[in-house]
């Protein structure tokens, strides 16, 4: 480890990989957010058929490994639909579907934490279902969900390393090729680990700050959801 500085030669490449990792994380989280909120609402307020569909979706993506999901979507969608897609699109879509399944659980818990008595109170004021959702349920659910949602951020961020199996040039994949090229895997993976660690630690601090800004006394989650 005498000249760890050799890493700097690859700084540009590593940065490229890191940016790809962050982009994929945010795409997955954002898409998963929409899917998660919609499926949670569907599971809480929807009809029986919708509930079955949603739960099958969630069970599939939570019960099987992300790697298998990535391989399956990457290889099969072009064959089944004729749509050509690259590793980036396939990866982003799979991450969204995967994260949506996990986020659904968090949102469902949070929506159910807005107790029935408040829904009745909203009704008694003459609010419509949509008004109740927008003004009463979601403002509370979105706050309640932040602490458990933080776990999903970390978990998905680290899971993006699975994208290596479809050849996407994210941080882990880039590190693997640098390690092979330089014959210095020990130092390279150590360095990569530190990048992930710093990124996750800083992200957690930021999320914590945000939570403390929007948090309301008495709206904390008392039990695990």
């Amino acid at each position: 480890m005498s000249d760890i500085l050799f890493i700097l030669e690859f700084a540009g490449l590593i940065l490229e990989g890191f940016i790809m990792t962050v982009i994929m994380t945010f795409l997955g989280l954002a898409g998963g957010f929409v899917l998660g909120v919609l499926s949670a609402l569907g599971d809480v307020y929807g009809g029986k058929f919708l509930k079955i569909i949603i739960n099958a979706y969630v069970e599939f993506f939570r019960g099987s490994p992300l790697i298998v999901q990535l391989l399956m979507f990457y290889f099969s969608i072009p064959i089944l639909t004729g749509i050509k897609w690259d590793a980036f699109t396939a990866g982003a879509v799979t991450l969204m579907l995967n994260s949506g399944a996990y986020q659904k659980g968090y949102f469902k818990g949070a929506i159910e934490a807005v107790f029935k008595d408040q829904l009745l109170a909203a009704k008694s004021l003459g609010m419509t279902f949509k008004q109740t959702l927008m003004h009463i349920v979601l403002p509370q659910a979105l706050r309640i969900v932040i602490p458990p949602w933080t776990n999903e951020y970390v978990s998905l961020g680290l899971s993006t390393s699975a994208l290596i199996v479809i050849g996407l040039r994210e941080l882990t994949n880039i590190s693997k090729s640098i390690a092979a090229q330089t014959f210095r895997p020990l130092e390279v993976y150590l360095f990569t680990s530190i990048i992930y660690l710093v990124w996750i630690t800083v992200s957690l601090k930021v999320l914590d700050y945000i939570y403390n800004r929007v948090r309301i006394p008495g709206l904390e989650v008392t039990s695990e959801i």
């Binding site: 008595d117 109170a121 003459g126 008004q131």
Partner: protein
């Protein structure tokens, strides 16, 4: 006939096979205060929720200001906005301050502007003596204060009638008074009120009529002195002697 605010005819409500309300006729006129008493499980809360349009009846009719609510094409939400409801649990919106709890119905349902709603809400909070607590969240208020915010939230909508479902049942005894006092003040201002409660003192003092409910029906009704002092049915006698026995 004087202005009947809320009325029902042959009102029935069943949950599955369980018949909770067994055909009720009832009416309340503008400015009146009526109190419903009765053992738990007799259907008081269900009656209040059905006549308050929070749950549909299984059978029978509900009239709001002379109009059959369920057979005309009235906008149910707009009628609900004219019927104030105070619940047993304070049921405040936990993400909103006391002031915002009172404002939200004004803004979202009645479409008031921010300034208008703030002014109206502050004025109403003053009526329940909570103007100094306007910017506190529900979790920072006592049970009695929360319940008074709940009253203000309903009152601010300028409802034609206020329904109370055992508003003091979940409160400690010393917090009960502050809520009862506010309700007495409302009665003096001739706000139309229909109250389910076990606070006999309140009923005696302000009620125009007391109704005794048992097993999904009103067994007897009349002015407080008659129903409280001289009940004609054995069930009412038994219930009242137990209720007043401890006093």
């Amino acid at each position: 006939m004087a202005d009947v605010v809320l009325a029902c005819e042959g009102l029935k409500k069943a949950y599955g096979d369980l018949m909770v309300l067994k055909g009720i006729n009832f009416k309340i006129e503008k400015g009146q205060t009526k109190v419903i008493i009765g053992p738990s499980g007799s259907g008081k809360s269900t009656f209040l929720r059905v006549i308050g349009l929070l749950e549909p009846p299984t059978d029978g009719k509900v009239f709001f200001e002379g109009q059959d609510v369920y057979s005309s094409d009235m906008d149910l939400n707009m009628v609900r906005a004219k019927i104030g409801f105070v619940f047993q649990e304070p049921s405040l919106f936990r993400h909103l301050t006391a002031l915002d709890n009172v404002k939200i119905g004004l803004k979202v349902v009645l479409g008031m502007s921010e300034e208008e709603a703030t002014e109206k809400a502050m004025e109403t909070l003053r009526l329940v003596h909570l103007e100094e607590w306007a910017h506190h969240y529900p979790a920072q208020l006592s049970g009695g204060q929360q319940q008074r915010v709940g009253i203000a939230r309903a009152l601010a909508m300028d409802p034609d009638i206020l329904l109370f479902d055992e508003p003091t049942a979940s409160l400690d005894i010393e917090l009960t008074w502050e809520v009862i006092d506010v309700m007495k003040e409302l009665a003096e201002r001739e706000v139309t009120m229909l109250v389910v409660t076990h606070e006999i003192g309140f009923a005696k003092e302000v009620a125009d009529e007391i109704l005794f409910m048992d097993d999904g029906k009103f067994l007897e009704w009349g002015p407080p002195e008659k129903v409280l002092r001289n009940p004609s049915t054995p069930r009412a006698r038994e219930f009242l002697s137990r209720l007043l026995g401890g006093v």
